[in-house]
Symmetry: C2
Subunit: 368 residues, 2 copies
């Protein structure tokens, strides 16, 4: 594996927007019975549905443990899906995979952030996490992509969104959380993002959604549609724990300019009605010390913003909620050239995230 | 993964000779402490030396378990070596990996034989072996190469050599052994080889080398140098258990014609003096029921024939034996256009094979 000691910015590399053409999307196969109910079988079915939906638009590589390899191959039988042996500590490749960067000549490299399971021993979701931390390097080596290792800088891919033209969206709640990079202040973190992702302006929303186990990942709350336009999860219910969060974020977005000094047009995407984990859903999850408990009545941070853009499509979660249809319509208006595919998202949500969290796009281009 | 129900022969595919251009060579990282002494550390050093030697000539991919991934990356740090997570039951990828086949248009596919650990429950070397049996499919899926699955036909890659022009060399001792394919007779086995490898003529040597745990693999005894020329391991010591075996083989070779009706020119490659496993070498191997015991005084089937042809080179084992130099000279004469690299082979031999057994070439060309 080629590990570089330079930075993407210095080498002319930057993170492209999610709508830039993909070579493929990466996923992981869910397995751990202390996070996924019923031995992860319902989650595996939901992940397979996502993989098969993406495979209609672009190739998919799915990493799976040796133990689940044969099962995953059988469940993912599709000519555009490649199953690859890869061990991990769970299935959130948005956060554990590499962040791919490109240059103007079409070369592709990857940034391998340090991963600490969303907070390490201060509020992290499980221990140990060393296989997750190895994952990005494994994928880059598999693909032959040179790797930027960020030293001890902790970041999850779900904590950032970019417009591919120099602007990055994130939340203070996550990036300034002392359980990530307590040794760095906001300015130092901004410089890390600038040098690793080739961005020039960072828009800091104060917080993400309430009850999000990630400490407020941006990818469950707000994303770019195209340069100068964002989608923001929204509620008009004053009783919602997100009522103030949405308004705080909107206020920041409305007074922000992007890296090219454009104001931002904000599209509101309704939140579904509050969802809670049921007794039945929690009953079959292995209780294991060191893993995040799953308790009946626990609020689930459901959001339609947690979708993936693929070549020609949008793969978005649905929640059997009256807002599903409205969300689909808004997504279709925002992405008129793409087919919007809504898939059942509850099983993925029960594990702590959604479609964007379980996918990682690899941009088109040649490793180099 | 695309699994085909046709046969390579019917689709215009055939196994190229080892001297045809390679895209890369595959290896596995040795690990099991019940086959390799001292926790496999001396073997790992020897395998790393082989990988680094091959990497001077062509790219190498090395499959390694999750547990040994970081160590393998550190030991194999070279821009032409790619480390890939792949679990296996041991490190003999010649026998467990795919046999790659090509067509005239430069497409590459692979044959995924059934593997039963050199004899299954009738004399096989370990149990279980299901990860070894999965390995060929995993590699083909990784590379995007369509896969031919041979149903229940048991074969190891080390049991065959081809000239790429329709001729295959093998031994009756291995292929007709009732612990491989007892349901098939010689004619049926020949037809399997013809359809899977695109060969037209099979030259059956009666036996391989004595004390070879593989039941007489050809790749430790006799190989093609080019069409119409073979190298045969040889001893003139009437006390050697190989004395008769060499003469039997020579007699067959001298009366054989290849697929193009050429007679065969036979080059003799001396065997090293008989080697035995030492007490010290066996002492630190974990004694595990179900694994091949490693006993002091056990004869080791050392042979210079167990070399690998790479792009521009020959990677051959040496045994700190007076015959090492002579072997190197014969190899250099047989392969005048290639650089002959001799590497210490004893640590690999202690595990039951040598350089050819631990490597698998992937021919140049595009998956398809």
């Amino acid at each position: 594996m080629m590990t570089l000691n330079t930075t993407p910015h210095d080498d002319g590399f930057y993170m492209p927007a999610e709508w830039a053409p993909h070579r493929q999307t990466w996923m992981l196969w869910p397995e751990r019975p202390d996070n996924w109910r019923l031995g992860a079988k319902p989650a595996q079915a939901a992940f397979a549905r996502v993989a098969l939906a993406i495979a209609r638009f672009e190739p998919v590589s799915v990493g799976v443990s040796a133990a689940q390899y044969a099962n995953a191959c059988a469940r993912l039988a599709h000519p555009a899906i490649r199953v690859v042996e890869l061990s991990s500590d769970d299935a959130w490749i948005r956060d554990t995979g590499p962040t791919f960067v490109i240059n103007r000549r079409g070369n592709v490299r990857g940034v391998d952030w340090t991963f600490n399971a969303w907070g390490g021993l201060q509020g992290g979701l499980y221990w140990p996490w060393q296989r997750d931390d190895q994952l990005a390097g494994k994928i880059l080596q598999l693909e032959g992509c040179p790797r930027y290792r960020t030293g001890h800088f902790v970041l999850e891919g779900g904590a950032i969104h970019v417009d591919g033209e120099g602007t990055l969206l994130t939340t203070e709640e996550c990036l300034l959380n002392p359980n990530r990079n307590p040794q760095y202040n906001r300015g130092q973190i901004s410089r890390q993002l600038a040098s690793q992702l080739g961005v020039e302006r960072i828009i800091w929303l104060p917080r993400g959604l309430a009850d999000d186990e990630t400490d407020g990942h941006i990818d469950n709350f707000c994303c770019f549609v195209r340069p100068g336009e964002v989608l923001l999860a929204w509620t008009d219910d004053p009783a919602s724990p997100n009522y103030r969060r949405c308004r705080e974020a909107l206020a920041v977005l409305e007074r922000s300019r992007d890296a090219r000094n454009r104001p931002l047009q904000v599209h509101r995407l309704p939140l579904p009605v509050p969802l809670l984990a049921s007794e039945d859903e929690c009953a079959s999850i292995d209780p294991v010390p060191g893993s995040q408990p799953r308790r009946p009545g626990q609020p689930l941070a459901a959001s339609y913003v947690n979708f993936l853009i693929v070549n020609g499509g949008i793969i978005a979660p649905a929640f059997a909620d009256p807002a599903d249809l409205q969300a689909a319509q808004i997504l279709q208006r925002c992405f008129p050239g793409r087919e919007v595919v809504m898939l059942p998202g509850r099983e993925i949500l029960l594990g702590g995230g959604n479609i964007h969290c379980i996918t990682q796009q690899q941009p088109a281009g040649q490793p180099g």
